[in-house]
């Protein structure tokens, strides 16, 4: 695939980065660029298209990489804390009278 002068590409190892994290990152940086994600072998390739002409391609790549790191951490935290989060919600919403069992009681 040919790349226009202003486009740039960054790639990520599929072992260390989830597609979910890449998609979340692409959404988060949408104010500055649109992102096309493709898979080839053991790597994801992200082609970054700046929204404004004259944007420094290395700045785009830096922002995308930083965002992917953050989204990866967020997924990790969400997974690690999921049981506690569910416990907190269960405690918070218990005895609300919203479930059938409680209404019958």
């Amino acid at each position: 695939m040919s790349i226009d002068a202003e486009e740039t590409q960054v790639s990520f190892d599929r072992v260390t980065v989830d597609l979910d994290a890449l998609q979340r990152a692409a959404y988060a940086v949408a104010d500055a660029m649109s992102v096309d994600i493709t898979v080839a072998g053991d790597r994801f390739t992200c082609t970054l298209y700046p929204r404004e002409h004259g944007t420094d391609p290395s700045a785009l790549a830096h922002r995308m990489r930083t965002e992917v790191v953050d989204q990866t951490l967020r997924l990790r935290i969400a997974k690690e804390t999921e049981p506690l989060r569910n416990l907190i919600f269960a405690l918070a919403f218990s005895k609300t009278g919203l479930t059938e069992d409680e209404i019958q009681q």
Binding site: L73, I77, A78, L84, I88, L91, A92
Partner: protein, 403 residues
């Protein structure tokens, strides 16, 4: 001292000796990261320390103690942090079971103003076919009283609602009659340009404890440029109206908000001083709502986020300075956001709630002929269709909470 030292040493957390509680983070700048939890507790930490906390390698006992106190981490086996988080979470959402407390009645689309930034499908003063009927109002009241909320705020909007004052009076009277059965706490607000109140209107509002919310864009020339009406006397009439309400009903019965046009951007100080001179102690610095008809007109925003923020910061600085000089003044939006950040007492501002305020926070009723794209967070119901007329967001003019 020895006992204290021993106690502190014994409470030291070993590397890896903590569990993460559900948290969110945001890189605030290159050096620091903002951590928040489910209930809005927050703490700024150096970014490298945040990563050490995630990896279980942090040895900074002060930081670990702060994170533990803010319920961002806990020790394995602890139960109290999760129980406290659940209580706080429940407290923040305590208004949710009450459902809708704010009910807006667009009693007419007629208006004698032609404001540059108006998003409403305004009609000329003569077109009474754009007034709400008693039948529509009656159905909307029935819907309002079906809400489980113990508080109902009924807000009259337009157009200029005072052009259909007979219906306002009918709704207030009817609502109080219905409330003899329901026993809710009722409040009434008229969102008006205050150009039209006469003795009859003021007498009624005084007797029925009705509040007024008006628009004041700042100094006379700026206000009249933004808010045009025949005679170019909007400012004079609004200021006179504010003073009349203050004198008859009390200072707390009238509030004002402003809309920022490009012409306002260089004048934050003058705008705020206009409010202070009138004895108003709150000012709501608002950008133009990017909704509906406002986008089509020449008076559309005409400025970007950076210019808006420069205006807002200058305004906020001036408000802080006024308070330092002993002149009380609150910037409403800052007060709402600060309360959300620093307390568990959510102000219930419908535009900034989660779950979203649409339907839950506010409902609006309007004429079947309404073609307005309402702004803010309300669902609209028309008498003809009994379905939502539009589901864009809606800003309550009285601006604080659903009840």
């Amino acid at each position: 001292v020895t006992a204290l030292r021993l106690s502190r040493e014994s409470s030291a957390i070993a590397p890896g000796g903590w569990q993460l509680l559900p948290l969110r983070f945001h890189r605030f700048d290159t050096e620091s990261t903002l951590l928040t939890n489910l209930v809005g507790e927050h703490v700024f930490v150096p970014t490298h320390q945040f990563l050490a906390v995630l990896d279980g390698t942090c040895s900074d006992q002060n930081m670990l103690a702060e994170l533990r106190a803010k319920h961002l981490i806990q020790l394995p086996g602890e139960r109290l942090p999760t129980e406290l988080l659940a209580i706080k979470f429940r407290t923040r959402l305590r208004r949710l079971p009450d459902s809708t407390g704010l009910h807006m009645f667009v009693v007419t689309l007629r208006c004698e103003h032609t404001c540059r930034y108006c998003q409403v499908s305004r009609q000329s003063s003569a077109k009474t076919e754009y007034d709400m009927s008693e039948e529509t109002a009656s159905r909307a009241l029935e819907l309002a009283f079906r809400s489980p909320s113990p508080h109902l705020k009924i807000e009259f909007q337009g157009g200029e609602p005072l052009l259909n004052f007979p219906l306002v009076r009918w709704i207030v009277t009817r609502a109080k009659l219905l409330n003899q059965e329901h026993g809710k706490k009722l409040a009434f607000v008229i969102a008006t340009n205050l150009a039209l109140p006469d003795e009859e209107i003021l007498d009624f509002c005084q007797n029925e404890d009705v509040y007024f919310s008006t628009s004041l864009d700042g100094p006379e020339e700026l206000h009249n440029t933004n808010r045009r009406r025949p005679g170019q006397d909007s400012w004079e009439k609004t200021v006179t109206g504010i003073k009349q309400v203050q004198g008859r009903l009390g200072d707390d019965h009238v509030s004002a908000l402003m809309t920022t046009t490009e012409a306002s951007l260089q004048r934050p100080t003058e705008i705020i001083d206009t409010y202070a001179k009138l004895g108003l102690q709150h000012v709501f610095l608002r950008p133009i709502s990017p909704y509906g008809f406002a986008l089509r007109r020449r008076g559309g925003a005409g400025y970007d986020v950076a210019r808006w923020l420069a205006f807002y910061e200058a305004g906020l600085d001036h408000i802080i300075e006024l308070n330092r000089r002993g002149i009380p003044m609150v910037e409403t939006y800052a007060a709402i956001v600060a309360k959300k950040i620093f307390t568990n007492n959510d102000p219930g501002y419908v535009d900034l709630t989660s779950p979203a305020g649409i339907g839950l926070g506010a409902l609006g009723a309007c004429s079947p002929r309404c073609k307005t794209t309402h702004s803010g967070s309300a669902t609209y119901v028309t008498a003809a269709t009994k379905t939502s007329c539009c589901q864009k967001s809606f800003s309550s003019h009285s601006k604080t909470r659903s009840h």
